[in-house]
């Protein structure tokens, strides 16, 4: 066995897994015909067996997170606050519903992991009517949580089965209170990861809690400068096989919500280069600048049909471009970042093993020139050795 202070860090993604010892990092493409543990042991069994169970730390993003639907009473407060907390807890937003117009919304057919109902300060009451109960009757969901006015909690509890009631996320100054809902959602995500049969098997090699990867990455960010040379402010892109995560400094957002976290996180659930390949291609096809970008990269749209290394590279480059578009003022979205102010774009995840620094920088330059009409050129920082993830697991 290795010395007690040394740890083995394992990250299980939807496409790759990484195994990090104090002296080396291995990355392997997953064999989807095998259970994760079997696959892991067949490829890195020798390394894993050198460590005690208590020295093995595992995180996973293999499922891309939970889905949520949020029902609130205003865009500026209840929906905005709940959305922010959900994203920072690793949850994917399926839709947000403004209660006064609830009859105009269609009911999603997919199973929703958690429905969040929010609205009002504690001194206000009777904010919801029968309409919400009728809507929820038609919805297929696993969990429901109420984080609105305490005066309404009893009537909500009486009418919504298995409702979890938590303290209001809006205080009496109309400020956000993150803690309770964030803990609830983080634990729910945790349970979802641990509930997956394949992940459960991983407890055969670790006695530590298996954490979600976005959580691990996010908690590394305040300490990032100890491992990677970045110039603030920066954004971090984690482009994976199924999803793309973006972590950003709150200084880059126009409408700041005052919270304890320095960095927020947003996930694009259907933007990835393996499992989400088709939806990435669809997103690319509906972006009017992508045709020109493909020309710039010296390929045509036929590349979408190829299953080559070159096609994977191009898709990764497109993913960078699309995610920057989604966060810019070019597309109105949940948040638009002040991208002209950033000095570094940090890339982590499998993408750093496939693309070179030049291949990333050409996309960034294209984006700034075409979408933002600017010569601004933030530095691309490649986290090729997974330093950020390693840091996050050690914090």
């Amino acid at each position: 066995m290795v010395s007690q202070a040394e740890k083995l860090l394992i990250d299980v993604g939807s496409t790759y897994f990484k195994v990090c010892t104090p002296t080396s990092i291995e990355q392997h493409f997953r064999d989807f015909n095998q259970d994760i543990l079997d696959d892991l042991m067949s490829k890195c069994g020798d390394t894993i067996s050198r460590f005690d169970k208590q020295d093995v730390h595992i995180c996973s993003s293999a499922n891309g997170g939970l889905s949520t639907l949020i029902i609130g009473i205003t865009n500026s407060f209840s929906l905005k606050y709940a959305t922010n907390i959900a994203f920072n807890s690793g949850i994917n937003i399926i839709d947000t519903i403004l209660f006064q117009n609830i009859e105009d919304y269609s009911v999603p057919s997919d199973l929703i992991d958690v429905v969040i109902v929010v609205g009002g300060v504690d001194s206000h009451s009777n904010l919801y009517s029968e309409k919400i109960f009728s809507y929820l009757d038609q919805l297929n969901y696993s969990n429901a949580v109420f984080v609105g006015s305490t005066q309404d909690s009893q009537s909500m509890r009486d009418n919504i089965e298995n409702l979890v009631v938590l303290p209001n996320i809006i205080d009496d100054k109309l400020h956000i209170v993150e803690e309770h809902l964030k803990d609830y959602l983080t634990n729910l995500y945790q349970q979802d990861i641990e509930g997956k049969e394949e992940i459960k098997h991983l407890y055969e090699i670790t006695s530590n809690q298996i954490l979600s990867t976005p959580y691990v990455v996010n908690r590394a960010l305040p300490h990032i400068e100890t491992r990677v040379s970045v110039a603030n402010p920066f954004i971090l892109l984690d482009i994976g096989g199924a999803t793309t995560d973006i972590h950003y400094s709150k200084d880059l957002v126009d409408e700041n919500i005052v919270t304890e976290n320095e960095y927020d996180r947003l996930v694009f659930k259907r933007l990835g280069v393996y499992k989400s390949r088709q939806s990435l291609i669809l997103a690319a096809q509906s972006n009017e600048f992508v045709y020109e970008l493909l020309l710039h990269l010296g390929v045509t749209e036929n590349i979408y049909n190829e299953q080559t290394d070159k096609a994977t590279k191009i898709l990764m480059q497109l993913a960078i471009f699309l995610v920057l578009c989604k966060m810019s003022h070019y597309r109105q979205s949940y948040v638009n970042l002040r991208l002209l102010q950033i000095n570094s774009i940090v890339l982590t995840g499998g993408i750093t093993k496939v693309l070179s620094q030049d291949e990333v920088e050409t996309i960034i330059a294209f984006f700034y020139r075409k979408i933002l009409s600017s010569g601004h050129n933030p530095v691309a920082v490649m986290d090729s050795n997974y330093d950020i993830w390693t840091l996050g697991t050690k914090v």
Binding site: N75, S76, F77, Q100, G120, V121, S123, L174
Partner: protein
């Protein structure tokens, strides 16, 4: 009685905002102060979240002129704001103007009470009278 207040638009006159906050509290109101640089939609949303009976918008640099035009249209998108007392005060134009014309204009925009360059306490007295008329005890 709950009051939502703040300074509209790109206006950072925080001292006036603080004075309004303190004066309202001294008169016994429950105040939700959104501070400076507040968008119109945030005012209406705050009224919905708090159940406030009064929306008091202030403006010092004349920005209200532009934002005021949007009030009716935006308010029409909300379903339960008809009984809210809409008040605006401060310096409501860029440069100078005839007070009667200014008051008439802002009333047309949808405000019940318009206090252009009026002493704060006088404005709050006007509010008190309007509340007594609108919500007789």
């Amino acid at each position: 009685m709950k009051v939502v207040t703040g300074v509209v638009g790109n206006d950072i006159h925080v001292v006036a905002n603080r004075l309004i906050d303190l004066s309202l509290k001294a008169r016994g109101y429950e105040v939700y102060n959104l501070g400076v640089n507040t968008h119109l939609e945030e005012f209406f949303d705050a009224v919905v979240e708090t159940g406030a009976e009064v929306l008091m918008i202030s403006s010092l640099n004349g920005e209200a002129e532009g934002w005021g035009r949007e009030v009716k249209l935006l308010k029409s998108k909300y379903k339960n704001l008809d009984d809210v007392i809409m008040m605006i005060g401060g310096n409501l134009v860029v440069g100078s103007g005839n007070t009667e014309d200014i008051v008439a204009r802002y009333r047309k925009y949808g405000f019940d009470l318009v206090c252009h360059q009026i002493d704060l306490n006088t404005g709050l007295d006007m509010l008190q009278s309007t509340i007594e008329e609108r919500f007789p005890s």
